[in-house]
Amino acid sequence: MIAAGALRAHSRYMSCKNENKLVAIVDDDDAVRGTLKELLRSAGYASQTFESAEDFLGSGHQQETACLITDIRMPGMSGLELQARLNAERCRIPTIFITAHGDEQMRFQALRAGAVEFLPKPFDDNVLIESVRAALNR
């Protein structure tokens, strides 16, 4: 039993090493979420969308996630809280923040916590795609 538990813990840790190529999108706005998924598809990347940080955490997909794109302000858990939570779980997923009203302090906090990019909405698709590519090729 102990061995099995240790093995599961290990495999989860291993999964956070970005062995999978899944891109996760967390945004509470249907339209933003949907068009982001389509944008990535047109660039050749499959992605999975989540309505909230809680949904993402509850889905169990964080193990397979190689790149996380998340909004900051959302009902319930915010993007920054999600990042902190993942860091606490030792699951450092390269994270791209997209936000409509991010200030410098927020940007600094996000980048210090390991964010790979901090993009104001609306954003340049090339910058986003480059960031995703970089994250997946780590």
Partner: protein, 520 residues
């Protein structure tokens, strides 16, 4: 007539009969006495003359039967007392004379009686006529008194309502009647007598004269009613607003007989209307300022709300370009992405329009409005604000409710104030933050709209003061939101009130009336 009166009358008539016969005997006796006295002094024998006088007097005063008795007595007295030795022929001759005289007297008496009856009849008729006249005079006096009273009431009513009445024969006639109030309103001296039409026109503001003449001329031509507003310049120079109405009176053949009508001094009413209008404008200005203040507080949230569909549209456009610029362009995918751009751009435009319509300054326009729809729109606008403070917005809207007659922008302003207050009340509470908006039926065909929060609740001991102007518990805000919301709801015929929730939070309720018998 009772028994004793009958007896009295019978006794009176018996006495009168006795008197009448006594008169016969008495006059004959007097005649006999006078004749004897004349004889004694050797004067010619005039008994017959005295006797005839006696018979005449008796007939006249005592009637036929005593008269006949006097004639018989006269014959007897002459035959047996005065001249007992006269011949039979002489006796018969005198008897005949008395008899004939008596007969003549009977005729005279009858004529006299007939005359008396006629006189009595005529007198009775005259008395009757006199009584009738008296009654009529009394009636006339009463009618006149009533008329005077009625006129006094009418005068007072005209004075109170600033409404004079007039009658006017169209040209070439002139003003026939001009009530006291007409003199007052039009600024005429009653001592000057009824004014002519030209004199009336001279008291009218020069700019209004031509129009009045035109309106009246047309009405007279068409034999129709007329109505016009005009200004009066009083002798002191003061300008008053007036309105006159005229109604044509047509003769049996349809010809125009005269106009009767009114002059109303509407200066005070106009003034009050202007003041009400100014007040309405001031209220609308205040409501607008209050809306703009609220929108100012929402700037960040509204910007976010617009930014989301724009972001989605930019994403879609980028996607579209990517599908088109691949080595093998995928037109179907590009088309799909482009459609998404259109959708999201429209959504952004909708939100901007909503913001604009709320920010717009304009006069209040009542129309049939779906309250549930107004609520949904307002929630869409305030979604980002709610999200910003982690407030969950819940709705319990009764979809069966009819539309209300209301100004949509003002109702949304009320909703905005209540929702923002609710969010504000929950900013600093740790428990669950939930805002619930409910619509349902209230009494008397009113709709009840409730906005409930789980915030700090109403300020203790100050529940009533929250609707006062400039009362606020917030560090920002000017304390006008609830005051204006209440005046908006009340101007729609509804009520706005607040209540504490159990175990925490507050609810604001307001009612709106639904139009009767109007299809939703």
């Amino acid at each position: 007539m009772n028994h004793s009166e009958t007896m009295k009358e019978a006794a009176g008539s018996a006495r009168s009969i006795a008197q009448r016969y006594t008169l016969a005997v008495g006059t004959v006796a007097v005649a006999f006495g006078l004749a004897s006295a004349f004889t004694h002094f050797k004067l010619p024998q005039p008994f017959s003359a005295f006797a005839l006088s006696a018979i005449t007097i008796t007939f006249w005063y005592a009637g036929t039967a005593p008269g006949v008795l006097a004639a018989v007595l006269s014959s007897i007295v002459r035959d047996y007392l005065f001249e007992p030795n006269t011949s039979t022929q002489s006796r018969l001759l005198f008897d005949l004379v008395f008899l004939v005289f008596a007969l003549l007297m009977t005729q005279v008496l009858r004529h006299r009686n007939q005359l008396e009856v006629r006189v009595a009849e005529r007198t009775a008729e005259l008395t009757q006529t006199n009584d009738n006249l008296k009654r009529e005079i009394a009636k006339h006096n009463q009618v006149e008194a009533e008329l005077r009273l009625s006129q006094a009431y009418l005068d007072e009513a005209q004075r109170l309502s600033h409404t004079g009445s007039w009658a006017w024969s169209p040209p070439p006639g002139d003003i026939r009647y001009w009530s006291d109030e007409c003199y007052r309103v039009q600024g005429f001296d009653p001592k000057g007598g009824q004014p002519s039409f030209d004199e009336f026109l001279q008291t009218v503001h020069p700019d209004d004269q031509a129009r009045i003449v035109e309106v009246i001329d047309r009405a007279v031509r068409e034999k129709e009613e007329f109505e016009f507003d005009y200004r009066i310049i009083l002798p002191g120079g003061e300008v008053r607003d007036a309105r006159s109405l005229g109604h044509p009176i047509l003769g049996p053949t349809g010809d125009l007989v005269e106009y009767i009508g009114t002059i109303i001094d509407v200066t005070d009413r106009r003034q009050a209307e202007k003041e009400r209008e100014r007040l309405r404008e001031a209220q609308a200005d205040l409501a607008h300022v209050s809306r703009m203040t609220a929108m100012g507080e929402l700037t960040a949230s509204l910007a976010h709300e617009v930014n989301q569909p724009i972001t989605a549209a930019v994403n879609g456009a980028s996607t579209c370009v990517r599908w088109l610029t691949r080595e093998e362009p995928d037109l179907a995918e590009a088309r799909e992405a482009a459609l998404g751009v259109i959708r999201n751009a429209k959504r952004a435009a909708d939100i901007i329009n909503r913001i604009r319509s709320i920010s717009k300054k304009g006069e209040s326009k009542r129309q049939l409005a779906d309250v549930n729809e107004l609520i949904q729109e307002m929630i869409a606008l305030l979604r980002s604000e709610a999200r910003r403070y982690s407030v969950a917005v819940r709705t319990e809207l009764n979809a069966e409710l009819p539309k209300v007659m209301a100004d949509p922008v003002q109702v949304q302003q009320v909703l905005m104030n209540l929702i923002m207050n609710g969010i504000d009340a929950m900013k600093n509470v740790d428990q669950e933050r939930e805002l619930t908006i409910r619509t349902q039926w209230a009494d008397n065909r009113m709709l009840l709209i409730s906005v409930s929060d789980t915030g700090v609740g109403l300020p203790p001991q100050q529940e009533d003061r929250i609707f006062d102007a400039f009362f606020t518990t917030k560090s920002h805000g000017i304390g006008m939101g609830l005051r204006i919301s209440r005046s908006i709801v009340e101007s729609h015929g509804g009520r706005l009130w607040a209540a504490d929730n159990s175990p925490h939070g507050a609810s604001f309720h307001f009612t709106l009336s639904t139009p009767v018998e109007v299809g939703a």
